[in-house]
Amino acid sequence: MIQFLSQPWPWYVAGPLIGLTVPTLLLLGNKAFGISSSLRHICAACVPANLDFFRYDWRKESWNLWFVGGIAVGGFIGNQLLTNPAVLTIAPATQIALQQLGVHDFSSGLLPLDLFGWADMTVGKALIFLVLGGFLVGFGTRYAGGCTSGHAIMGLSNLQWPSLIATLCFMAGGFAMTYLGLPLLMRLAGL
């Protein structure tokens, strides 16, 4: 069983399980699936700064903070206890493209440690891959009113056309950054 669980799970197992989160949260107490809201609740709890946007009773939404706390614990269990013994397989074309951009670590796990590990971290890499990237994720999801979970999965499940627009823009932004932005940013980061 553990051996089975340790292998990478195929999309047709993971996707339906993620989809089932939608009815699970609804039936457990009318909660709408959405993760980026947790960032807003943390701001409201820690640095509301008298801004209207953060003046609400975040305690009523604390289930969402438990949910993301659980995701972190699940991340630990999934990577440390149910460790995949094999090296992550990466599509050859992606690996070649990334090598040309200066990425070298393809064997240590889910993320390349030459970009996201402490050992090889530089100020340039941290500013681009952690600070800039994180800021865009936090600012963009709130401006869009949701992220992949709230719009792409919850919104599309409920046939909301604004969520379709948001999802298409997520993808458009991702394609643009991958093909146009990353080559420049990787050079700026000194790769």
């Binding site: 993971a14 963009g140 909301q160």
Partner: protein, 152 residues
């Protein structure tokens, strides 16, 4: 058009399972995230480079199952465990879905993570991503501080 974001914050007091139950759902969710490698920067790069079907299969089948579930709940008037009718707030269109959506897309391709995977990556042991999370909180805060001046 900012009513949607306000309505989200003042939900009618609903009866619900205690918070720790949602923590448990999160644990299962986090395990799926890691084991299906959805939190991998490489998988997100494969997706945007159209080199693998994996992420499209994950998101597509998740939407399919979610859609089917919501339709079944509606069709059969399934109620919550507390006996309340299931209520889902509808999404209002705003320009934010375009501009914010594009900005998030940029960040998604850089970090290889949406907000959920950020938490999973940190739990998985990639502690430098803690800086990414702090910066995402800063981004959310700056949106809250500047939203009056942004097109909606």
């Amino acid at each position: 058009m900012i009513s949607e974001q306000n309505s989200k914050t003042s939900p009618t007091q609903q009866r619900s399972k205690p918070n720790w139950v949602f923590g448990l759902v999160g644990v299962v969710f986090g395990i799926v995230f890691v084991k299906a490698e959805i939190v991998s920067w490489f998988r997100i790069q494969e997706m945007f480079r159209l080199d693998s079907f994996h992420m499209y299969g994950v998101i597509g089948s998740a939407v399919f199952v979610g859609l089917l579930s919501v339709q079944l709940i509606r069709r059969f008037n399934i109620r919550t465990l507390q006996g309340d009718p299931v209520a889902i707030a509808s999404k209002q269109f705003s320009q934010g879905q375009i501009w914010g959506g594009l900005l998030f897309g940029f960040g998604w391709a850089i970090t290889g993570a949406c907000p959920g995977p950020l938490f999973a990556q940190i739990g998985a042991g990639y502690t430098a991503v803690g800086i990414t999370l702090l910066s995402a909180l800063a981004g959310t805060w700056v949106y809250g501080a500047t939203r009056k001046h942004l097109p909606h």
